[in-house]
Symmetry: C2
Subunit: 465 residues, 2 copies
């Protein structure tokens, strides 16, 4: 049964949406060569679109080499060409609707759109004044070089500071094991380029972080979603996926997972690491939401001590997304190799930006600022949960921190439709399908609590329910 997430109001033509949905499933081998796809009439009826739309989409998929038409018998998935050729054809194109979504996120605020689906905090919550103060002070210092390149692994004092903060999470690491990067995004990119070749299979959280999905597709990887439970990846599901696939890596969030806001339990962490050992894949643990936790929960890196886990972090969420400072920590030899890859990809990262982040961390205000942020988020989370209760939405799990709440409207199978109606009302929602590796339909929605406790949203949800 082919279930696509189609939405006439999404801004992307329905034909493109069908082409894209089918391609993803073929690329990720969920539809195997030789498998029959639904007849035109059936697909049109089950998705409420016209037959012409499906005809055009299938024609295009045939032209692209994804489908074959067998006269009288219908449409079938075409035999695979060699992975290399496949991946190079149009890597970005295959990731295109993720990019489309990504671009929306960077739209400068127009009018008074309510960005309930946003992945960031409102700028006015951030410590702009602290940044200004530290910028001015760095600009005055004669010993801060502004014109020459930084160092290959990044500003040493910041790496030393990270050594201390990672120790608090139970992760033992030397500065030589840390590589500063252009946000967590470049760290993920370097890891993907190092470990994956076109056609390789990777496991990702389902639901999970969709910018990552686009990046992995650009690298030509096949994405397999591991269902996410409230205490982490579904270990039983992972085990049966491992019977069919040999992933090179598993990319996952352990703390305040995006989008579910749930944390990994120690027992599940142990099982996941055991499976990684047995099946020999690396684990890439993205901890972008780390600083939003009041008390640290389990990290895979804390159990494994960076033997097999590559730990990735960022200051984009709490300090500044614009200065682009992130990092990765891993075993020493790999840190050297990934530093080489970083130099070839972009030369050293900005030492000025790294010094700025370092001075923000050590000047003595950061902990206070985080406490304020967490307090504010806790307040808004309570207000959001009350609002969701009043409008009859069902919560996935009580958030333990951070900015997200993951909830669904009873009786609604595909939240994408709700999101397009919301868009027409000036409310930007984040429907669950965008967080799924093949954009499969999902009843869930991610609410950013900083924006969600709002009358307009409550009225909209109340009327929609």
């Amino acid at each position: 049964m082919l279930e696509l997430s189609l939405d006439p109001d999404q801004g992307m033509p329905l034909v493109d949406q069908i082409v894209d949905g089918v391609r993803r499933r073929i690329d990720d081998r969920l539809l195997r060569p030789g498998a029959q796809v639904p007849p035109i009439r059936r697909l049109a009826e089950s998705h409420g679109v016209s037959r012409f739309t499906v005809v055009e989409a299938y024609d295009r998929l045939v032209a692209l080499g994804y489908l074959q038409s067998r006269r009288g018998a219908g449409f079938f998935v075409a035999p695979r060409v060699a992975p290399a050729a496949e991946a190079s054809e149009a890597p970005v194109d295959r990731a295109v609707d993720v990019v489309w979504l990504l671009r929306q996120g960077f739209d400068r605020p127009e009018g008074n759109k309510l960005k309930v689906g946003s992945g960031w905090l409102p700028p006015e919550w951030m410590d702009e004044e602290g940044l200004r103060r530290n910028l001015r002070s760095l600009a005055r210092r004669e010993d801060v070089h502004l014109t020459s390149y930084g160092t290959p692994q990044g500003h040493l004092p910041l790496r030393q500071q990270l050594q201390r903060t990672l120790a608090e999470l139970g992760i033992g690491v030397e500065p030589a094991q840390i590589v500063l990067t252009l946000g967590a995004t470049q760290a993920l990119d370097l890891v993907a380029r190092h470990f994956l070749k076109p056609g390789d299979c990777v496991f990702v959280d389902d639901p999970g972080y969709w910018t990552l999905f686009g990046k992995l597709r650009m690298q030509g990887a096949c994405l397999i979603g591991v269902p996410r439970n409230i205490d982490g990846p579904d270990v039983e599901a992972m085990r049966s996926l491992l019977a069919q696939h040999q992933p090179k890596a598993f990319f996952t969030h352990s703390a305040l997972q995006n989008p579910t806001a749930a944390n990994l339990s120690p027992a599940v962490a142990h099982q996941v690491l055991k499976l990684a050992d047995q099946h020999n894949f690396v684990i890439v643990e993205d901890d972008a939401y780390c600083d939003f936790q009041n008390r640290p929960t389990t990290r895979l890196a804390a159990l494994d001590q960076l033997e097999r886990v590559i730990y990735i972090g960022s200051f984009s969420k709490t300090l500044s997304a614009d200065f682009r400072v992130g990092f990765l920590a891993c075993h020493r030899e790999l840190a050297g190799v990934l530093t080489d890859a970083k130099l070839l990809a972009s030369l050293p990262t900005s030492e000025f930006a790294e010094r700025l982040v370092h001075s923000m961390l050590v000047e003595g205000h950061y902990r206070k600022y985080l406490e304020r942020l967490r307090g504010r988020l806790a307040e808004r989370t309570t207000a959001t949960l009350r609002m969701l209760e009043r409008t009859g939405l069902e919560l996935y799990a009580e958030p333990t921190g951070g900015m997200f709440a993951w909830a669904r409207m009873p009786g609604l199978a595909d939240a994408a439709r709700l999101a397009s109606r919301a868009a027409a009302a000036g409310i930007v929602l984040a429907p669950g399908n965008v967080f799924r590796p093949q954009m499969q339909p999902s009843p869930w929605l991610r609410f950013n609590v900083a924006f969600a406790a709002d009358r307009r949203l409550e009225r909209f949800l109340g009327e929609a329910g």
Copy 2:
């Protein structure tokens, strides 16, 4: 005849140097499957190394699958495996000695090493004071957001400013055709990732820009060097290379080419563009040294108007390498696609850095500063040329600007040996082999005029000659 550039004092074991030299030639298909490599004894003698060294290198090449040993007959290049598998094996490893060189460049100054081989200006020549002033002023401005992401294509006023400066070079471009990047390096990276798949062939300048070579190898490309004449690429050589290879792209410098400091002539530009049309490859024109020219010379992009040419520039050489601001300009549709690729690779670049560069360009001091820089460089160039004349070195061509002079010592076939003797004397030279795609031996050396008019160097060259 296999001619490797071996240097016992280079810091990399001789075995590694042989393995690397042979691998490069096989990867780039200069040694074809089935071809015989020189017998152990012959290679040892012709390169002045021990037979044990060659035995160990050949053994390792057999283990790596690059060579086959046929009993009694010698060693032969092994049949190629599929490009995909090949490229993914260890992309960085294959580029490793370029990275090794690259890392040397970022070493913080220790003792009083004389960096004659450096690719940058001395920090004290740069406008640190101007940067500090603009940093402070940006830090004061309330309308400059410091915490949220920049825009996908980059800060519009800087793109508008680039539109004006490119118009002065005769390149007509709209801001929508310009994408700001993390230095020219990310621009080259995005283009390489978009156009090249593992195993694809690319043309590069020989001699040319070696960081680029490492990057292209990381992408799995085969590098074919197009010999560089004083007026640009050797068109006749290019034509015969095109009879054997189908390149996807040609990466080249037109103005103040690195390392020869020579400029492209209009007649050669026209021929190169005609060949690109006939053989359907894109041209990537890296113009990193643009602002060092007093009067602009021919750009491929000015003839072609960004139909087939992708033009790349940077502010790293004249304003700051640390703030990492560069750009690419190309036709509009491609600009959109490369912006998508940029978002997936690294999210938007830093708007603060883009604003800083923009304010440096428009505050009214930049032209004056460039004039000062050019005057200083002209002075040092004269002094360097006199020194080279006194020590009996032969100049490739009189530099018309910029920071490089390309010269050789008569009677010396391989400048790498000279460079290692210099290193022992605390002088860092840039020997010609590092600027060649397969690190072939070269008699040439690149001198940075800002450091070259120096007694220590003169004494060393006088004694070496």
